[in-house]
Amino acid sequence: MYSFGENVSLVDIETTWTFDNYARIFKPEIMTLLWRTVWISLVATVVCLIVGFPVALVIATASPAAKAWLLLLIMLPFWTNLLIRTYSLLNILGTRGRLNELLGWLWLRCNDFLSFIGAGELGLLGEKFVPIKFLGTPSGVVLGIIYVSLPFAILPLYSSLERMDRSYLEASMDLGAGQMQTFFRILVPLAMPGILTAFIITFIPALGQFLIPDLLGRGQVDMVANVIQRQFKGANDWPFGSALSLMLLYVTFILLALRAFGDAAKARRESIR
């Protein structure tokens, strides 16, 4: 309702059925931020799927005792607050953080190795180690989103792999398909419902991230949710904030509808068969 309203005073909002708040979404700066939000979320989601799939496969094929422990390991981060997890990433990803410390150490070792084999003079790895800047860049935000949403990607993948009938894989191998062929032509298609669920369950929350762009993006890589958050606080513009968040909600609905539509089509195909 607010999204069709106007601020009439500092505290009152009148619903005037205006579309101004929706029109403001199409300003270039908002479109830039929307586009940035979508590609950052997309990259993070795809990486989550690529990394999550093998992990899910390992858990699904492990012995029952090991399975319980592995699942526990996946769930463990949920017991820590998101804010604390993000702050710990700040410590890891900083230019003087742990990750760069490790990379610097590796650089030194590699350089030692190069001098050992007599290639030290070439300076193949540059004059001195330059720390990689993760924070304040999109890479930091992407890493942050991957870190918080990886468990969400693994669990649906795991459940679909778990339920899968392994005899298909054996049949494929018996009939002469290679490991790769079996993976891409049998395993992945069979796990497709899980992959889609994992995609939606990571992509949609990623669209709404504002804490990670604030902290890991250092306010340099704002996403749409940062604008929404400001409308409800400093900018005191609830109508525009509502319009923007409904916009995100519509995107979510469209994705879910596509998913449901796909499922229905598949069911129909199968019933015909």
């Binding site: 601020n7 005073s9 340099q220 940062n226």
Partner: protein, 353 residues
């Protein structure tokens, strides 16, 4: 035989048959509770306990991180807070929206402790709705060994690549733009389309040199060495100056924003009487000194100042030099239309690059 029943028996009987009694407010004034909504890390170590011990009033102490959070909480109706501590321009905004109760000064005799210079501010003429808690500045915290000479101007942060990649600004749209106005030689309250566009251009141009728009943690970035210059509240820099001698604080020569946080009673709270008692307590000299020595902000309380040591009173980061404060100003609420324009400008700055 005495047939009158005493109070205890009556209450017991009433409770037994499930009758609830609503007592007149005066009876609850002694004891009872008060809901205090204050900034994070903004009170003395034992301030609340001492008040509870002295009066028997239970204090429910809640924290907010910024004025916007406070305003957003109260906007839809007061959820039950009895004392809040908003900053000057938000007091103006709340008065505009009719959200504050006038204070009953007869119940706050300690108001006499406040420095007379603070008793007639532009946002609350004659001090009818608020009493000052702490005041301060926004300035530049810097690593002495990493900068060349001294930092004297906002230019080093806003319009120069000298310290490229070592600068943190605040993540507060209005404040950051206001300092850009200051650098242009304008008043921080001089909002015109032209000034706003110039400030926008300045910041978009400077953005590649800025490391972070810090979410209230510029001091941490400075302390950990991620940046060498950080625009921050003076109190935040002071806290890390105590940990690291290499950190300095300066109010640039163009001047800055002077802020004041003041205690107010929002409409809709239930414990107005207790709120007055708590405000009076907080303005007591010793209590004020206890808070000031712990949080290291400048107190406007004369009686508290008298109890503080030289180190506090002569610290330039707490009480900046008169040359810098004389060209500084308090922020005035610019009106809803400008708030929206400022936010749109900020979105464009954030979307750039």
């Amino acid at each position: 035989m005495n047939n009158t029943i005493n109070r205890r028996q009556f209450l017991g009987g009433a409770a037994a048959v499930g009758i609830s009694l609503s007592l007149p407010k005066e009876l609850l004034a002694e004891g009872g509770k008060v809901n205090f909504y204050n900034w994070d890390t903004y009170i003395g170590e034992t301030t609340i306990e001492d008040f509870e011990k002295a009066t028997g009033i239970k204090v429910q102490y809640d924290l907010y991180a910024d004025n916007d959070e406070l305003f957003a909480k109260l906007k839809g109706g007061n959820p039950g807070y009895d004392i809040i501590v908003p900053s000057n321009d938000y007091i103006e905004q709340m008065l505009d929206a009719d959200m504050l109760l006038p204070l009953d000064m007869s119940k706050i005799p300690n108001a006499a402790n406040v420095d007379p210079a603070f008793m007639d501010p532009s946002f609350d003429p004659g001090r009818k709705y608020s009493l000052p808690y702490m005041w301060g500045t926004i300035g530049v915290g810097y690593r002495k060994s990493a900068v060349d000479g001294e930092i004297t101007s906002w230019e080093d942060l806003y319009a120069s690549d000298k310290y490229s990649g070592r600068i943190a600004l605040m993540n507060e749209s209005k404040t950051v733009l206001q300092m850009a106005l200051k650098l242009m030689g304008k008043s921080i309250n001089d909002w015109t389309d032209e000034n706003l566009a110039a400030a926008e251009e300045m910041l978009i141009k400077q953005k590649p040199h800025i490391t972070a728009f810090a979410q209230d943690n510029g001091q941490d970035l400075l302390l950990s060495g991620e940046v060498d210059l950080a625009m921050e509240w003076n109190g935040d820099i002071l806290q890390i100056m105590e940990e690291d001698d290499d950190i300095g604080y300066v109010v640039p020569k163009e001047g800055t924003l002077l802020w004041e946080d003041a205690m107010c009673i929002p409409k809709g709270g239930e414990n107005v009487e207790n709120a007055h008692a708590l405000i009076n307590h907080l303005l007591e000299g010793e209590v004020g000194a206890g808070i000031a020595s712990f949080i290291n902000y400048a107190t406007p309380n004369k009686a508290a100042q008298a109890l503080m040591d030289k180190e506090y009173l002569e610290n330039p980061a707490i009480f900046p030099a008169v040359e810098a404060t004389s060209v500084s100003e308090a922020s005035v609420y610019p009106g809803a239309e400008w708030v929206q324009k400022i936010d749109e400008t900020w979105t464009r700055i954030k979307a750039a690059g």
